[in-house]
Symmetry: D2
Subunit: 372 residues, 4 copies
């Protein structure tokens, strides 16, 4: 049994989610790793049913305890930077909620530290959709050449969390603390998937809107201007492939409405989070007659078929959102235990940040922008 010690910094909704996954992953995977949890003092005061091995007065003392192997960062976006730099400097493995940072300047500072300290530990920026089996299968199908050269693609991620005009301002809705609106909240997931499935994005054109321009300030009777965008439409490019990214957090009837479609010269792939247990695949080389021959989209059942290590429950069992986080945590911890790399890592997170920055710049000047 190998012990890995994880230090939690931040303990809101996502911090709890990570913590739960560190604990319960042992049921889902054959592993000889045991995770012990550490925290800073503020964190330890929540009601979550977790036993921390040790409580630190501040994040620096936690990071600099050589007993702690992994730093897990779940604080508001604008606080990522200083913690990431400290953790990089200390040579810790890092599991950080997306995005990497709240703005490109902060992200650049992180990457400078990354280079300066020759960071080569296992890291993760949490883009958990890479761990949906349907999407993992999509990646395989593309890599096997089954849809041929990709021609064009569409990604969409819609929610309705901000449709209520009376939803008050919180850290998620201020430019300063969040870094952005629907692009940061939902869009970064889709951008990482595009990098994963299609290739690096090298050019963007974007336009954005804040539909509800004023919102109540929590705990006051004032309303304040909303700085972040509710809607964002992007045209993007990866080499000769062209695509779109459509984002909204004011889309009535949308839950976690992530969908994509990728069209190639030999076939196509579709995914909708409405049914995360299948990936749709069209093979243009299937015979088309008599009548419709064997030509059509196939709903490949992916369920919980992660492969060998994912031993329980049985592969045929359907899955949902929580399960992707368990898979991401295991993938990361397993890499830490074996001292290997795992992806998406900090560099993948930085690539997403470059794109988000270009998107905002493009939306500002209403021109196409090269990502660099």
């Amino acid at each position: 049994m190998k012990n890995i010690n994880v230090g939690m910094i931040g303990f809101g909704y996502m911090g709890k989610m990570h913590t739960m996954c560190y604990d319960i992953m042992k049921y889902y995977y054959n592993t000889d790793v045991n995770v012990n949890m550490y925290a800073v003092s503020k964190t330890s005061k929540t009601s979550f049913p977790i036993k921390f091995e040790k409580i630190y007065p501040d994040y620096k003392s936690l990071i600099n305890d050589e007993n702690v192997d992994v730093i897990d960062i779940c604080v508001p976006n604008f606080l990522h930077k200083e913690i990431l730099i400290e953790a990089i400097k200390a040579g810790k493995h890092i599991y950080c909620e997306k995005p990497l940072a709240a703005d490109i300047e902060s992200a650049n500072e992180v990457m400078e530290a990354y280079k300066k300290y020759n960071y080569n530990k296992t890291s993760r920026i949490t883009f958990e959709y890479r761990f949906v089996p349907a999407i993992m299968r999509a990646k395989q199908i593309i890599d096997e050449g089954k849809i041929g050269n990709i021609i064009h693609f569409n990604f969409k991620y819609y929610g309705s969390e901000f449709l209520d005009p009376n939803r008050p301002i919180s850290w998620q809705s201020t430019k300063e603390k969040s870094g952005g609106g629907v692009l940061y909240a939902l869009g970064t997931h889709a951008i990482d998937l595009i990098h994963y499935l299609i290739g690096d994005i090298d050019e963007v054109y974007a336009d954005k809107r804040t539909h509800f321009k004023k919102r109540p300030l929590l705990g006051t009777d004032k309303t304040v201007d909303v700085e972040i965008e509710d809607i964002l439409n992007v045209q993007l490019y990866s080499g000769d492939k062209m695509g779109t990214l459509l984002l909204s957090q004011v889309a009535a009837g949308s839950g976690i409405d992530l969908t994509f479609e990728i069209y190639g010269e030999k076939g196509a792939i579709k995914f909708t989070h409405d049914n995360p247990n299948v990936i749709y695949y069209f093979n243009n080389e299937d015979e088309k007659s008599p009548i419709g021959g064997l030509s059509g989209f196939k709903a490949i059942e992916t369920t919980q078929k992660y492969g060998k290590a994912a031993s329980f429950p049985p592969p045929r069992v359907n899955i949902a959102w929580t399960r992707y986080h368990i898979a991401s945590i295991f993938d990361f911890i397993d890499a830490v235990a074996n001292n290997t790399k795992a992806y998406p890592d900090i560099q993948d997170g930085y690539k997403v940040q470059l794109v988000t920055d270009a998107i905002y710049k493009s939306a500002e000047i209403k021109k196409s922008i090269t990502v660099k």
Copy 2:
């Protein structure tokens, strides 16, 4: 240009449907056949935009005019018998709305005439679902052995036409004139499809219900007992294959809700009239890994891909209910023109009648009945 003369007997909703199809099929198919319409006097008084070449005082004079090639029968079910017998005796081609007859005794009389007069013309009992390309493709897939030996199957046909308890009694809802309820109205279609796709039904067990037991009598302020069934559940057998047939005309939210699924040793097929433009096919021999491999139901696009003769509009165009009737009429008229057989014919209609009779008998005695 070949002329075929069709004599209409009965001119309600289905009579008009047939008539329209005789006329407009020329647009959909490459054909050198021209259809001319004849009718009995009652028929000719409706407002339908059709020019009849000649009007006869009664159906017998129409049938016995040697100028008339085809007798098309669209009268209420209980009147089929005498007209069919007259048409058989006269050696006419016959296009008859389903069912063959309103009861097995009448059907037997028809078949006696059929034998006595050595009937060998082209005939059709109108089970138009055989002419849905998706279902035609299902037939091919099964015949090609793609799903292997059939193990079991389910057919369902639900509507909501009788859900309103104030719908008055009409000929369709009297035992005497219709012969039965949902079994005659909807079930006969499914039974014919089972014969077409699976094989002859040789045993049934059935139970039925009349949910709304009284209904208004049209044009009066009386209510009368309803004799016909609203719901019918059947277990049926074809050799070692077992299946079910579920029928209802009181199913809230159901339009033309015909669905089936057929499971074999090597695969499965599913159809739902919600999307009549695809047939779903599962190949159990597809690779199942990595992750889900290529294993899943494929939605084969069948649209209007009838094949060569169906030249217009283009095969990729989607279709709906009217189109199946056009296909059935063309298939029949083309056979008449070429002096060949076409199916489903009177004998197919009789096989359906044998099953409906066994179903009612079984429902009465609550025992399994052999079809013979």
Copy 3:
């Protein structure tokens, strides 16, 4: 019985479609109008089963025969202009396949004639999707305020007609004769629907690609450069509403893949041509608890429920593409008979043309363009 005389100019696939609809609409609608067909000499030589009352040596003599009431134009796009102008000058009713013209200059010339001759007859540019009951119901739901102020919207129209790189060049694929690629073939339909459902488009940003850059020249062993676009992504604006329009004719697995979604402050609407018989509606004011309450997308069954005049077959019968054309033709002919306006008309067609022109200009300069 009222007689309306229609003169066909052009008789390819769409000309035949219109002609069929003029004839068969009488079965679907209660109408006392009878349509007689006229044609120019070239037209009359095809094999389509239609009897023309009179054949003219050229289109001008047809247009200028005062016996002819309606001019139906189905020639290649670049020929629309001169025929439209002649028909406008002659004061004829006009039923013209979309688009209005092959370029904005031609469209402007048409509109000059329109003004010069005070054209006030019934006209139609054929955007037949306005006649899908599901889309008609969407219009009503929006107009009733059921989804509140519209926030944003997405339209997509994908096909795969040009995915085969060996498809040769035809008039549809030359800039000169067609005017454009997927924007003209598919996009104009979606633009008209946006005008119908959302409002006038006043700004666009677009980018386009020709994926297959060379194609065989029919009847030769040469390949030539393709001038028209295969893919087009557009961001578009109507007042404060923002939206997208995604077009492709090289999308593997796509048939007639027209979809849209419209999000408002109080609800949302979705349509997919996969099932043209329903419109999806989400009411954000539905109760959301206990559990999910009554909150969710409803699939409103629209089938063939056109209303009173559409008397046959019954409203519950499902429909498909051909039926929209019949509805468009009837709507137009009925207006001609009653001397009323009907929409979409020439001015609607011109509005679409303005948008297509702005889209191409934007794609060229890679900047946002105001439509005017």
Copy 4:
């Protein structure tokens, strides 16, 4: 913090599932209960990551340790009886995998002990589908009268676990140890749901088949006769409501294919495990015009909206199979902690057993059987 001590008897796949849920439910629910695990010696030798507080040499000593509050039974079906009786006698709370017992005689013995010892503790036979929010919402909708008097209903549960003819015989596939085939494995779930949603089943007619009649005997080169059924079709009745239950474990392409539809006088409900996050509801009283009015099936989003106690992750997150087990375990443990009843309990399990017994008897004599 309240401690509840659970003694596991049996530790195969389902035993592990329960054990995981006892542990991880604390993350999903606000609870002050802590569960400690106990086991018999055999159990403790598996590799599952669980710390047992104490290990007993046999199940009797575990049951009779007064420190143990709950007996959790996950042994093969035929062993349920003696353990249940011992646990009842000892007055323990009981969480037992379905079914109650392997045959009616054993079930009767259990119920005799139940009466004899005046058993009144919290118990559960694990029919976890009662804990799918979509199905919980279905129950509410029915109880609120929203679909009116139920007319008829269909339940189906299909899998493909036995489609491979080379799958060897195991305890699940012997009559002696399992009690039955697909009826025990899948059907009991559906029967409990019918009891929950519709009412007690009082009459059945059934027919069954063993499609693959011989299977390999594990660890030998022999094949043996298969005693259990692969397919079972049932017609069933609850008062004046009639329904069907279709079961197969040889249905190609089926994963966990549980579906049902319930039709009432005022509406209908549909569920399919393909998307366990919605329940479909049709309200027949919705306006039906203009066009389709507002009439159609609504997909109510239920996701993880269990209500107040289910505090984490957020209600909008989608769920899958594992989550229903967590909900069932929490519901039970919460009742134990509060000394209340919870359902489905042993008596519910017995009612299912009575129906399964009647189904097998009916299938044997091919007659309808009254459940008593």
